[in-house]
Symmetry: C2
Subunit: 212 residues, 2 copies
């Protein structure tokens, strides 16, 4: 089972590494980081992660995962990457995104009228690109699975693992990652975070700046 996680400059590291850590533990899975060029890609804060394979060499992955991050804006107009996504989606078992990675799937034309999610600050943009935005942690529609912001990729990948190899496998992975989350605060969604925190996040958002 071949699993390809797309990298690009300016991605969000945890968007990619959360699913990576889960999916590498799926039996028979071969997970690799892929990109238009096989080289180190820098995340939005400067961390370097290696794309070991070029997308042109990855022609029929079973699963594709597209992370988000501010660099997604450039990917949305990168015909090389968008064409590859359209081509491999023809035969994937699952085509997945984390956070604003769904904006890339939408730009590739894969989410027209499709129920999908994204980072909570990006759902208006997701609608603008033709998808049917859903306020949910993970959305499954046909062979497309989209996750909300950043950390939601871990939940998405566990669901993927269960759909690929069954619940016991997914539970074993969850236990190996000791994924028994205990956030010290209850501020992980705009519905529960303190209003001042939500307003500050909205004001700082690159999507708010784009509208201004």
């Amino acid at each position: 089972m071949e699993i390809a996680i797309l990298l690009f400059d300016g991605f969000t590291a945890l968007d990619a590494i959360g699913p990576y850590e889960v999916l590498t533990r799926v039996p028979r899975a071969e997970v690799s980081f892929v990109a238009a060029e096989a080289r180190v890609h820098r995340d939005m804060c400067g961390a370097g992660i290696v794309a070991d394979r070029v997308i042109d060499d990855v022609v029929a992955p079973d699963v594709v995962v597209v992370p988000g991050g501010p660099g997604e804006v450039a990917v949305r107009t990168n015909d090389h990457v968008l064409s590859w996504l359209r081509a491999v989606h023809e035969t994937t078992t699952w085509t997945a995104s984390v956070c604003t990675g769904s904006l890339v799937l939408a730009a590739a034309g894969l989410l027209d009228g499709v129920p999908a999610t994204s980072h909570w600050l990006a759902r208006e943009e997701l609608a603008r690109l033709g998808a049917d935005p859903v306020s949910a942690r993970v959305v499954v529609d046909g062979r497309i699975i989209t996750a909300a912001g950043v950390s939601a990729g871990i939940d998405m990948a566990l669901l993927l693992a269960s759909m690929l190899e069954g619940d016991l496998v997914a539970q074993g992975i969850q236990l190996s990652l000791e994924y028994d989350p205990r956030p010290p605060f209850n501020a992980g969604s705009p519905d529960v975070a303190p209003p001042v925190v939500v307003e500050l996040a909205r004001a700082k958002s690159r999507f708010a700046r784009a509208r201004a």
Copy 2:
């Protein structure tokens, strides 16, 4: 504020990237991956992450984070790294570990008699190395903060962010990562996972193999 995350070959990627994603969002924080050599380090499943700085050049970080992973065994006998950890711990605000990274702190002599945690499968080994193992998600003792397995580094880093810059900052980071976890199963600790899943994990553990 200088934050150094240690890399070594055979680390667990999410142990490092979970805290990275949180701590890079702390105002004024400069987060870098550091190692004995400035080069790509491969995690336990092959992902390459770049250590941009050598530990010899990082003499007084405010925060040090040590991830775990099977490669930690070699680090436990690496005098260069252990000496560096002992030296920088003299002046850190916080010395932190994720998962079996606490075994490295223990090997450096920083956990003698200190309440600390680790991956649930590694707590006996942690005791053998002189620490006082605690079954908890995150343990704070003086300037030392240790997290349980893999994903616990996210919770640990949010707590660190709040102790460094206050609760509102930590809550803003949690919201930006949309860290409102919704695991599809309740199997993240041996207390709640199905017994067959727990037994399989114990049987496969490298610590079980070491005892056999």
